[in-house]
Symmetry: C2
Amino acid sequence: VGRWEPDARGRLERAAMELFEEQGFAATTVPQITARAGLTTRTFFRHFADKREVLYAGDEITAFARRLLVEAPHDLDPVQLVEQGLQQVAAERFDGRRDEVRRRRALVRTEASLRERDAQKRDDLAAVMRPALEERGADPLTAALLAELTVSVLHVAIDAWLDADDGRTFGEVVGSCFERLRTVLPAAPPST
Amino acid sequence: VGRWEPDARGRLERAAMELFEEQGFAATTVPQITARAGLTTRTFFRHFADKREVLYAGDEITAFARRLLVEAPHDLDPVQLVEQGLQQVAAERFDGRRDEVRRRRALVRTEASLRERDAQKRDDLAAVMRPALEERGADPLTAALLAELTVSVLHVAIDAWLDADDGRTFGEVVGSCFERLRTVLPAAPPST
């Protein structure tokens, strides 16, 4: 990004979000976004494949997860690994951004193609985690289950955190989710 | 469906699947599907919104899950409920259909829009399960976590079942997944 377009990406993201909220996602065009941002469509397409990707391109959670899994201490077992990973995601990417995350959620709920893209993003995250967990000693079935479990906890915890008015941090909500799973799961008797 | 078009839906589904496999999903058009099936596009659109929905319209797993949750015995706790529900899904909808499920998976993997639709389908299933679990006494957080967990186990178990060559039924694979989660999860120490 050249200095003649300072923060082009951020300007496009903010303009897009404003327009999506004002007039709806479907009614918003790329030229409207660039006009609002004072930039050209050429600049837009240098940063984003289409208007939908404006909401996702800045979200490097997959790369973040991969890095966390590679850098984590080697004495953690797989469950500790994913739980501590989620705690770090919470601290670095969610806490302090509740309004922004809530606005984004409201928008995604209005539009089927955004809900599908969100679901796909969760799949991508699980797909990154599986081999990383296997590299750290988990067998393939455990790695697959823990990857999906982590993505599920993240998903449920985001909603619980956004809906709660109790001042808990996102990390505290993540911790409650794991505690709840530990309480509920072993309660079932051995299958007959 | 009138008797002058016997099994129109099934014929369209089989024609579509053949064409998707022969020439790819993207290259296949609705007129090609109807020509192969010997039916009109008008008939096609009476059954399906578009060519993608051919792969999903017959999949009533969401309605099936809702019915299971309503009809299950009332003395089951929520984990037993989802585990037994998955066992029934396994027996009635998967066992004996391994080739068909495997072909479908191969196709979905080739196409981003199908992977997104699959992910959305899993979201829909979780969305149906949450209120049903709450009606049966689970608190909202537990209901949300168990709904996501069930969908995750189903997803992981399908892949494990399709990839295994060990003659296990889908229900046995589902059972192993729950056992694995019970083993792995309580292994983590209380968070510090």
